[in-house]
């Protein structure tokens, strides 16, 4: 791994300045993606700016409407949070199934969203729950945030500070994990919200996370697993890779969606 200059600023402004002052700076949160990337030499930044020294980027707050999660909050903290378990149990459940215990003790929600891996779990929750990504510069609606494989609408040097979720009426997440990495081969988050039924699919799309419109329409009529009988996302726009072919992923999406609906329906 090529050496770099390491800093750990203790406020947001200093982090932004450090990034601006660098010819090639990279923020680091949990490091669970960035460190493997550095080891492989896929990125060779001059400066690594650790966000973990910024105290107010971490933590979970509940209000009457939902939950706000700080960007450097670890997956394990979300999974164990009383407040999240109360307001959005499906989100705590999702966080508790990311990777493995060691990954959950380091990895953060902000890092996961900024990275926008097409097989990551959080993007499905953010899109299905119509969450808002808050940065040091603005607020970005979920729909506008994700922008294709490993790409988001974040600008150069922009820092995610928190993510705001409204509590749904009911929701559930089901994933078929890759047995080695635990990343989603297919993951489906189903939510019945004030904005209607939303179904978000991760692990499968050639452009990353997406909404399954036909499933949403069927579930708006009848929120039951049976409503999805005969509905499948076309395989044309799905990924084929060493782990699974597109038609297999298409099949899994319907299976995971039905399981998620059955689970969500049973909770309310």
């Amino acid at each position: 791994m090529q050496d770099f200059h390491f800093t750990r600023p203790d406020d947001l402004a200093a982090a932004g300045q450090a990034h601006q002052a660098s010819d090639d700076g990279a923020y680091m949160a949990g490091g669970q993606t960035l460190i493997p990337v550095l080891k492989q030499g896929l990125a060779m930044p001059e400066d690594v700016i650790d966000l973990n020294g910024i105290a107010d980027l971490s933590g979970i707050e509940a209000d009457g409407h939902g939950i706000t999660i700080g960007a450097t909050t670890r997956h394990a903290s979300v999974a164990a949070s009383e407040a999240v378990c109360q307001a959005i149990p499906a989100l705590a459940d999702l966080a508790g199934r990311i990777g493995d215990p060691q990954v959950r003790n380091r990895g953060t929600i902000g890092g996961s969203l900024a990275n926008n891996d097409p097989s990551a779990d959080y993007p499905a929750a953010v899109l299905a729950l119509n969450a808002t990504v808050v940065t040091d510069r603005r607020e970005i609606a979920a729909e506008a945030f994700f922008d294709g494989l490993f790409t988001t609408n974040l600008n150069e040097g922009e820092i995610i500070t928190r993510v705001r979720f409204a509590a749904p009426d009911r929701a559930a997440y089901e994933k078929f994990p890759n047995p080695a990495s635990r990343y989603a081969l297919v993951g489906v988050f189903v939510a019945q919200t004030a904005d209607g039924v939303r179904v978000a699919v991760t692990g499968a799309g050639q452009d990353g996370v997406f909404r399954a419109a036909e499933m949403e329409t069927a579930l708006a009529d009848s929120f039951s697993a049976g409503a999805l009988d005969g509905i499948a996302v076309p395989a044309d726009d799905l990924m084929t890779d060493m782990h699974a072919a597109a038609d297999y992923r298409a099949h899994l999406i319907t299976v995971m969606a039905k399981r998620a609906v059955a689970r969500a329906a049973a909770t309310a």
Partner: protein
């Protein structure tokens, strides 16, 4: 280059490291604590697990500089030289290792698991070990060892 001060196995350590120095490299090469192993470069095997402020982490996926101010515990901290703690003894008794390469990480993960959940079910043990890969045993004896080690530790 970052100057770091941390506590490793209850001893204060101050050193200068490179930005890129991994916590596992610092533990093995700078401190000479070679019980912590390195089995992959993809953050998947868990041979390198140590406790960072009481939580199990993959020390190959944490920068030494990020551990500044933290408390680190490695496999060497579990029992005095030549002795075994109840979890280590359970691995020994249940034949929970063959080559032993994964064992330090398995035991450190198991110790964290029982600290959080002293009486885990078999399913909880299997879920808890998802980040630790063993290429020898087939896991059966590891799971048996963790269940029995947990029991021994409950006393």
């Amino acid at each position: 280059m970052p100057d770091i001060t941390l506590n490793v196995n209850r001893q204060a350590v101050s050193k200068t490291v490179e930005g890129r120095t991994l916590l596992v490299e610092f533990i093995r090469e700078t401190l000479g604590l070679t019980g912590t192993h390195m089995g992959c470069d993809t953050s998947q095997c868990g041979a390198c697990v140590v406790h960072l402020d009481g939580k199990p982490v993959k020390s190959c996926t944490v920068l030494a500089a990020q551990a500044d101010g933290a408390e680190v515990k490695t496999i060497e901290s579990l029992a005095p030289e030549g002795e075994m703690n109840p979890m280590q003894r359970a691995f020994h008794e249940h034949h929970g290792l063959q080559c032993g390469f994964c064992t330090p990480g398995m035991v450190m993960t198991a110790m964290a698991l029982v600290a959080e959940n002293p009486d885990p079910t078999e399913a909880q043990v299997r879920h808890g070990l998802e980040g630790n890969i063993c290429r020898c045993t087939g896991y059966q004896n590891i799971v048996a060892a963790v269940l029995d080690g947990a029991k021994a530790m409950r006393g």
